[in-house]
């Protein structure tokens, strides 16, 4: 990644398999053109490779769709492109063009090899004889008249094949050239460049295949043929190089908006583009081939040099495909940045898969060449001036050529001049090496990491665990949901407290207390209008002592004592300001002790205040050590050095939120910033801290309220995890209440933003901010048993 890229470009879409696709089709087109040069244009020097070219084209053509197939997100839907093609798409034609071309090549190959097939059917033993008989398709007429008809057909097919080859591969270029969104691809020259590089790569491959095969078979190389091919290769390479150069030149000269990004791309691809594709894959071979063609060098030396140069050209063309396919995707659509290619080796789209597919045509070629040996030069037509005067039906295969005796088990049968005793050791080794490589690659494809997998075996891919499944459900059935009081309304319920069958809901934004009955029917309101002095402004918390309700108000900061029976304000308690900074005490949480005093949380001053119910201060509990003090490793995502630098600040940042008191007088204070529950002994010293967010089980993150039931169970509402964490009296997690699956946020939750809790008997009342009241029935204390 470099510069400005779009988020979706982080993933590389067309992998190395899409590099293979134009490479393989290009080899097909090129090989076919060579065969047509002989069949249509009568380039007799190409006669030794005319058949080889056809077999090569067929072998690669059969494999050509495989990289595409393997690359599809849904390979099983590939047939859709045949059944319901969308012809405005440049890609929709591939299936048809490929199919048409396959038929053409198969028919031409059959016609060319028909005399051999007939002869082989007669001469080979069972079961091969049956194979050849079926391959002959019942046409065993190899009379001169029949062969003449064949030759005419071959000539027609070869002639049709040239534009077809151009179509097949020009079309591949068009698929890229038609992408106007990509400046590296979008050029009308693309089909022509693809076509020429295809021809170049096909000729080069044929040179290599021919020379190597002849060596492996221990047969004589026709040096004139190689020389002719080298000349052809040089000519096409020259045109190809010129066109590629022109394309870059015109881009560079026009200097359109996209040129900057293209120039940067060329810099980035210096090795694969400038060195491998241009220098080693084109310029050097061009000079070498030119030298071989023009200068007087020995025949063997010239063939060797031409073969090496041809191999370089094949690699260069592969680099060209790479630079087009991968290079084009390296450019961000923003034209202001680059994406890096990510090497993936295993899986269905990885490098090993590509290598395996690249080996496949060689295997197919070996099989085809075993069945239909292309080593014999094609018989010259009788009409040709240099033809043998009398062409016998089977003269192409001299008698004895198929003597199977000593040759059973060898890879190539029917070699006219091969002595039966030849062992073909290098050939066998080469085939064994090919098979071994392919087996190793297949193993690598299946075992190495990479997505998607080639085979989705059940259990072969463990589901990624995103959330550690550590929370269990605290099963408390939802009894009622009161979104709005019946016959009344509230704006933003924030807290709730109960007095017998009277339910009081603190309406934060409505600046009032709404009273309902247990079924949610509206009863009355308490606000500044009907209770003089009850100036509720940002009220935060409520608690009741059984007759009065204590309301913590933030502006002005005080505790209102409301006599709900008489609907009057008994008094207002103003709390002592903080000792250190002198900030006013703002009540954000309140709880009643067994002794009848109030524990009030003063978060702003980081302390708890205990007062009598008449407002007389009892004591102040300032930060006990290790309590609401943020500087606990892992509390928040603060880097250690940052934390250390701001330790002075942080030490006063943690603050108590809601408070609760258990039956034995233990004070439980939520630390809203450090997140966790501080357990204080009745004397105000710290006992323990639990429910930290980093805890493996039952941590809280954004605790809003705490409640303790008659059985000592502790309930903590958490707005971040959208539920209520439940603990036993010792602080051991009993599970999460409010979501059917506590480990995912996908399921609908019973509560979305629980902001307050109240417990009466076996009922847990939850205020869901913006959603009203939710009532749960608490299960008996013996359930669940703590693990």
């Amino acid at each position: 990644m470099d510069g400005y890229t779009f988020p979706n470009e982080a993933e590389f879409q067309w992998s190395i398999l899409i590099v293979l696709y134009p490479f393989i089709t290009g080899l097909v087109a090129g090989a076919f053109v060579v065969s047509s040069l002989y069949h249509v244009f009568g380039m007799k020097s190409l006669r030794p490779v005319a058949r080889l070219a056809l077999v090569t084209a067929l072998a690669f053509l059969l494999i050509a769709p495989l990289p595409l197939q393997a690359h599809l997100g849904h390979p099983e839907r590939a047939f859709l492109i045949f059944l319901q093609p969308h012809f405005t798409s440049a890609m929709a034609g591939f299936g048809y063009i490929w199919m048409f071309y396959l038929i053409l090549v198969v028919v031409e190959t059959w016609l060319v090899f028909r005399p051999d097939i007939v002869a082989l059917a007669q001469r080979s033993r069972w079961p091969l004889s049956h194979v050849y008989q079926s391959m002959a398709l019942g046409v065993d007429d190899v009379s001169e008249e029949a062969l003449a008809v064949d030759r005419t057909l071959i000539k027609v097919l070869a002639a049709v094949g040239i534009p077809s080859a151009a179509l097949l591969h020009g079309y591949v270029g068009f698929i890229f050239g038609a992408i106007k969104a990509n400046p590296w691809w979008s050029t009308p020259l693309m089909p022509i460049i693809f076509l020429l590089s295809a021809i170049v790569s096909g000729i080069a491959l044929l040179i290599v295949l021919y020379v190597v095969s002849m060596k492996l078979l221990d047969r004589e190389i026709d040096h004139d043929c190689v020389r002719a091919m080298a000349g052809l290769l040089a000519a096409f390479l020259f045109i190809d190089l010129t066109l590629e150069g022109l394309e870059i030149l015109s881009m560079a000269y026009e200097q359109e908006e996209s040129w900057d990004v293209v120039r940067g791309l060329i810099d980035r691809m210096a090795i694969s583009f400038l060195v491998v594709q241009i220098l080693l894959g084109a310029v050097v071979p061009l000079f070498v081939l030119g030298y071989v063609s023009l200068a007087r060098v020995g025949r063997t030396l010239s063939t060797t040099i031409a073969t090496v140069a041809a191999a370089m050209v094949v690699v260069g063309v592969f680099a060209m495909r790479w630079n087009v396919v991968v290079g084009g995707q390296m450019i961000s659509k923003s034209l202001r940045g680059y994406v890096e290619y990510e090497w993936i080796f295993g899986g269905r789209e990885g490098v090993y898969m590509a290598a395996l597919i690249l080996c496949l045509p060689l295997l197919v070629f070996t099989v085809l060449a075993t069945l239909l040996p292309p080593w014999l030069p094609e018989p010259a037509p009788a009409a040709a001036p240099d033809a043998t005067p009398s062409l016998q039906p089977r003269m192409a295969l001299p008698q004895g050529a198929f003597a199977p005796g000593g040759e059973r088990g060898s890879y190539f049968i029917g070699l006219p001049d091969a002595s039966p005793r030849k062992r073909y050791v290098p050939l066998k080794l080469a085939v064994a090496a090919l098979l071994g490589t392919m087996a190793a690659l297949l193993f690598a494809v299946l075992t190495q990491p990479g997505e998607p997998r080639l085979l989705e075996l059940p259990g072969s891919r463990p589901e990624p665990v995103l959330v550690t499944p550590y929370r269990s459900v605290f099963a408390a059935p939802l009894v009622a949901r009161i979104t709005e009081p019946i016959g009344g309304s509230w704006v933003e319920p924030l807290d709730v407290t109960l007095l017998g069958d009277r339910v009081f809901v603190l309406d934060h934004a409505g600046e009032q207390i709404v009273e309902t009955d247990l079924e949610g029917r509206f009863v009355t309101l308490f606000n500044a209008q009907n209770v003089p002095g009850l100036a509720l402004h940002h009220p935060h918390a409520m608690v009741t002592d059984g007759s009065d309700i204590y309301v913590g108000n933030t502006f002005p900061p005080r505790v209102y004592v409301l006599d709900v029976a008489a609907s009057r304000l008994k008094r207002s308690i103003v709390l002592p300001p903080g000792e250190i900074e002198g900030l006013p005490a703002v009540p954000t949480g309140m709880a009643l002790t067994a002794a009848g005093t109030l524990i009030i949380s003063d978060g702003q001053n980081h302390r708890l205040i205990e007062v009598q119910r008449d407002g007389t201060p009892v004591r102040v509990i300032n930060r006990p050590s290790g309590s609401w003090d943020l500087f606990q490793p892992g509390n928040l995502n603060i880097a250690p050095d940052t934390a250390a630098a701001t330790i002075g600040q942080i030490a006063v940042t943690g603050r108590p939120g809601s408070v609760g008191v258990t039956a034995d007088g233990t004070i439980l204070a939520l630390d809203v910033l450090g997140a966790g529950v501080v357990r204080l002994k009745p004397d105000g010293t710290i006992a323990s801290v639990f429910a930290r967010p980093g805890d493996p089980v039952g941590g809280v993150f954004e605790p809003s309220d705490i409640a303790v039931d008659a059985n000592g169970r502790i309930f903590i509402a958490d707005e971040l995890i959208r539920g209520i964490q439940v603990y036993d009296a010792a602080g051991v997690s009993l599970g999460l209440l409010g979501r059917s699956d506590p480990n995912t946020f996908n399921e609908a939750a019973d509560v979305m933003r629980p902001s307050a809790l109240a417990i009466q008997g076996d009922s847990l009342w939850v205020v869901d901010r913006g959603r009203g009241l939710v009532r749960f029935a608490l299960p008996p204390p013996e359930w669940p048993v703590a693990p």
């Binding site: 779009f6 979706n8 599809l72 997100g73 859709l80 492109i81 995707q329």
Partner: protein, 119 residues
């Protein structure tokens, strides 16, 4: 959409481009052809995907979620065919910009106060 070989991605009558997830073969040609980088391959279902303008919401008369939640109202959404709609009036009144118009994409996403450097 022009480049899809199996017509799995299409434009609805109301102008939203969607992907038929049961039909997409995952060739990713549309991802390559999108000048805006708007498309991606769904990593789980291996089909192309893109913003649907919350089609499930807008067909029920709701706004797309991103428009709904934007705290400062920076996003507006509406039916450009309705001359009385807020969006049509904004397009009429404000000086708005579109991206990569020169590629013939006929964009319907308008930007206000767009920086010249944005592509």
């Amino acid at each position: 959409v022009q480049v899809c070989p199996v017509a799995a991605t299409y434009k609805t009558g109301d102008g939203v481009v969607l992907v038929d997830r049961d039909k997409c073969i995952g060739c990713r040609y549309c991802i390559q052809a999108c000048p805006y980088g708007a498309r991606y391959l769904d990593p789980d279902e291996h089909v192309a995907d893109k913003c649907t303008w919350c089609y499930h919401r807008i067909t029920r008369g709701l706004l797309p979620a991103c428009v709904e939640v934007c705290p400062v109202g920076a996003r507006k959404f509406g039916d450009l065919r309705d001359p009385d709609s807020e969006i049509a009036k904004l397009v009429e009144e404000l000086r708005l910009y579109v991206l990569k118009e020169d590629l013939g994409t006929r964009p319907r996403v308008h930007y206000t106060q767009l920086d010249e450097g944005v592509r």
